[in-house]
Symmetry: C2
Subunit: 243 residues, 2 copies
């Protein structure tokens, strides 16, 4: 996955932890493998499946002691059922977590904008999650997706021209707001790195931060914020893994 | 070690990597264990040794595939000989790397200021490394250490009042500059998180960034920047570990 997004996720894990001293933090093991096949290309039928490499990562994290798995890549969540079926450790679902937070942002939220990769858009991960919560998903059209969101994500992945990426995300969020979105989900982990200006014109729900809060909640209190059942996993130690 | 500093190190690894695409980055495995006994307390004779927990971490990193170990905690480097003797994978030496960069900052550098934990100060790690390069180390006196550096580090470790931590580090760097320091080493991985204002009045050498550059150099080109021999390790795969 994109290592800048992984570092951002790690910072959000730290920020989500109430700490009086260093030892109050949670042990974290991270397996950052930029060689995992591109998720969007796989979903578009243009490249190999990322599932074997992701399973390899989860096995390494499990071997290092992880009790809860967080995957800070929204697009990878298209493969969550396949991954979850293959392993005995819970994988948190950031798409569900972020959608729940967006739908509950205000009591009257009706329309939720979604910024994501082309792969996530294609699978309708967020659109389905929105409809399940009786809110209307608003996504970019194909041209806007390519010109705005995909370009911004590519710039962040290579650390290039972040101000330009920030302008592209601002433009995309403005389009969604003008179509009626009351909140916008930053549904690709590269996007929160450049969504500051967008957040000034429409509230941006940071899926990475939602995942971090849930991961810390799970290891500290045995709960991931109510977004899914807490019954499946017994936490034997306070550790979490990051793919 | 402090997880905020570890996340900062991970970001600096990303920043130190020239990348055209996601797959150009280096696989990274991180074992962030805030339960490692406090290094300064151990060095002051007030707490247990961190060596067993650090060795456990290195073994986990090795098990996950790490070929080069980086420990983004300067104080922990007091134990580097003990750790290195116990394992067959190279541990990069951030104290040597940062001191080399400080001494070479300009051809005429004579006095190098050092900001660190009380434990690092006590062991003279940086002072010895400076003298070995024929530059004069300038450290805070005991009162300044407690009032400025130690307080700032504690604030960063718990994520509290970072503006105050930044003022404390600015004051400490100013004291060292006024005593003749031409550059100042941020020789504790919490300090670069709050050394921005200090860097405006005297060049601050970021030991975390030095370690990140060396780690990326080692996995990409088999060199850690000349700060130590490259002969000891054969890199079988492009991976590095972070303790």
């Amino acid at each position: 996955m994109g290592p800048a997004a992984t570092a951002d996720f790690m910072q959000k894990l730290v920020a989500a932890t109430p700490a009086e001293r260093e030892s109050d933090y949670t042990p974290i093991v991270v397996w950052s493998n930029p060689g995992i096949p591109d998720r969007t290309r796989a979903l578009l039928g243009l490249g190999p499946s990322p599932v074997p490499a992701m399973l390899d990562g989860i096995v390494r994290l499990r071997g290092a002691g992880a009790d809860v798995i967080a995957i800070p890549c929204n697009t990878a969540h298209a493969y969550l059922p396949a991954l979850q079926a293959a392993i005995d450790v819970e994988i948190l679902n950031m798409v569900e977590l972020a959608t729940a937070e967006a739908a509950a942002f205000r009591p009257d939220v009706r329309r939720v904008g979604i910024l994501s990769t082309a792969g996530t858009r294609l699978t309708g991960l967020y659109a389905s999650a929105c409809r399940a919560r009786d809110v209307i998903p608003l996504e970019l059209d194909a041209d806007q997706q390519a010109q705005l969101s995909d370009r911004a994500i590519a710039l962040v992945k290579t650390g290039r021209d972040l101000p330009r990426a920030e302008r592209l995300i601002l433009e995309a969020a403005t389009l969604l707001r003008d179509r009626g979105a009351e909140v916008v989900i930053a549904g690709c982990t590269e996007i929160p790195l450049v969504s500051g200006r967008a957040d000034a014109i429409v509230p941006v729900i940071d899926a990475t931060a939602c995942l971090a809060k849930a991961a810390i909640g799970r290891v500290r209190h045995g709960t991931a914020g109510g977004a899914r059942s807490t019954e499946r996993v017994q936490l034997s130690t306070l550790k979490e893994g990051v793919l």
